[in-house]
Amino acid sequence: MTSRIFYIARNTFREAVRDRVLYNLVAFALLMTGGAVLVGQVSIGIERLVVINLGLTAISLFGIVIAIFIGIGLVSKEIEKRTLYTILSRPVRRWEFVTGKFFGLSGTLVVNTFFMGLGIFAALLYVAHHFEKSDAWVLVAIYLIVLQFIIVTALTLFFSSFSSPLLSAVFAFSLFVIGTFSEDLRGFASVAHGLTGWLATGASYIVPNIAALNVISSVAHSQPIAGALVLYNTGYALLYSAMAVCGATLVFERRNLK
């Protein structure tokens, strides 16, 4: 079972690499180099701040775009190319296929993020000529961004299990945007009463809480991130993603593929 999931995940990763997903690293490298050099010339005292803000934002946006645009094709492409029938005719269960796809895309994003993270540290070294102790917080921010990717990947997989690629992209992106405002939704729920309050509270727990996973501004200002926040966010992201993958499995198990 584990080996079947592993093989599907590995093939998903290979396919993503074959699709030239990692080419975004070139764009990222150009952005970081350009940003670091340009800001150094036109501004005063914010080179480090810009490198961190720009770098982490770029990692986050590039990753979200990859998670959505690769994620929407994970299932539909296999059906379109009829390779899914070959896979499922072997001793591979549908849930193993879904889980393998999820791990494959998550792995792609982790590798991608690793290289982009190296790019940020290289740019930091270029502008400051040395590392500071507080630069370690950038790693925490990158880790939390990876958790965002895992959630978005799981959600995209869930939508792509029953919807067309275009609609899946719209749903996933919309939920990502709503997730960035989830704390406002909870603020609304806390002042609403009765049925509205219950509905708002329920909705605020169902949409992903992306806002809590974004610590870019704090890290740019060298503010420490609480260990408990990292721990609970990790638990939250893993459980939320598992929930979305379970949802995808449930839908895919019942889907008529004929």
Binding site: R94, L239, L250
Partner: protein
């Protein structure tokens, strides 16, 4: 088929467990990040920038900002806050996005002008807000009424209040109260009777439950503020005549000074204190009263509901 059903059951169970777990984790995260949310964060502080960014969907954006202003006020009010830093900017953005959203001027100016903890205590900003509203909605008499109310109640500027009521009264379809208030303001601005008229007007001109409840509470408070000095003077007369303070109102009824035991607007009898002062039995039931409270009395946190 059986295997598929097992997978479905397992996935459903796991999904529910993960949902419960994620809610638990999220609550933990919230506890750590408490206060990091909308309360003191205004992403776009410039009304003009917000207008540009709304891409022409100004109406919807104004509704969203107005809802945010209400949420902001409501949550701070419930906590008995002394500061409402973001209220004025939120209202400015709301009205810049939709200058015809009169509800934002009417309620927003009340939120802004009232003293903390019932409001932001920024009457000057409230005046500016309503004046902006009048500029954009010159035919709406409600806004003149709101302006006059702020001048009268919070700024004690009776001349400006009279001017606002007079200008409003000249508009077509203006409520007849405005003319009466304008005249009253010019002659007897500081009287309790004028205050009673103002709150009666507020009660009658509004259809909002919250506003009506607030006006009714103020009218009850005025009743107490008017009755307590009268009762204290009767107690004083009794003391002068008998050489002692009456122990309760039964003594005054038996002496023929009162026809019956006086009751406050909540239906509870007034009390005579050993020093001759008159107090209400339960000051918490009568918000806004200025007389008849025990020495050093601090009013409880206000409630944000129309149930009062």
């Amino acid at each position: 088929m059986k295997g598929s059903r097992q997978v479905a059951s397992g996935a459903t169970l796991l999904l529910l467990l993960c949902l419960a777990g994620s809610v638990f984790m999220l609550r933990r995260v919230e506890r750590i990040r408490s206060g990091a949310t909308l309360h003191e964060v205004l992403f776009i502080s410039s009304p003009q920038a917000a207008k540009r960014l709304s891409l022409g969907y100004n109406g919807l954006m104004a509704d969203i900002y107005w809802t945010r202003a209400v949420q902001y006020f409501g949550s701070h009010h419930a906590q008995g806050a002394q500061e409402y830093k973001l209220l004025a900017p939120l209202l400015d953005i709301t009205t810049a996005l939709d200058p015809h959203l009169t509800v934002a001027y009417e309620f927003g100016s009340t939120f802004l002008s009232t003293k903390p903890p019932n409001g932001a205590g920024e009457p000057e900003k409230a005046v500016k807000l309503v004046e902006y509203g009048i500029k954009n909605n010159p035919d709406d008499w409600h806004l003149y009424y709101n302006l006059g109310f702020i001048y009268y109640l919070e700024l004690k500027d009776y001349k400006s209040a009279a001017d606002a009521f007079r200008q409003g009264s000249q508009l077509p379809h203006a409520h007849p109260w405005l003319k009466i208030l304008a005249a009253r303001m010019s002659e007897h601005a500081g009287d309790l009777e004028t205050a009673r008229m103002m709150w009666s007007a507020a009660y009658q001109t509004s259809s909002d439950k919250q506003v009506k409840a607030n006006a009714a509470a103020h009218l009850r408070a005025l009743d107490v503020d008017e009755t307590v000095p009268v009762l204290e003077s009767i107690v004083d007369k009794y003391r002068k005549a008998t050489g002692r303070v009456p122990s309760n109102f039964v003594d005054l009824v038996q002496a023929g000074a009162l026809a019956a035991i006086p009751r406050d607007p909540s239906g509870r009898p007034y009390k005579i204190m050993p020093d001759g002062h008159v107090e209400v039995s339960n000051p918490d039931a009568l918000p806004f009263i200025e007389k008849g409270t025990p020495p050093g009395y601090v009013a409880p946190k206000p409630k944000f509901s129309g149930s009062e």
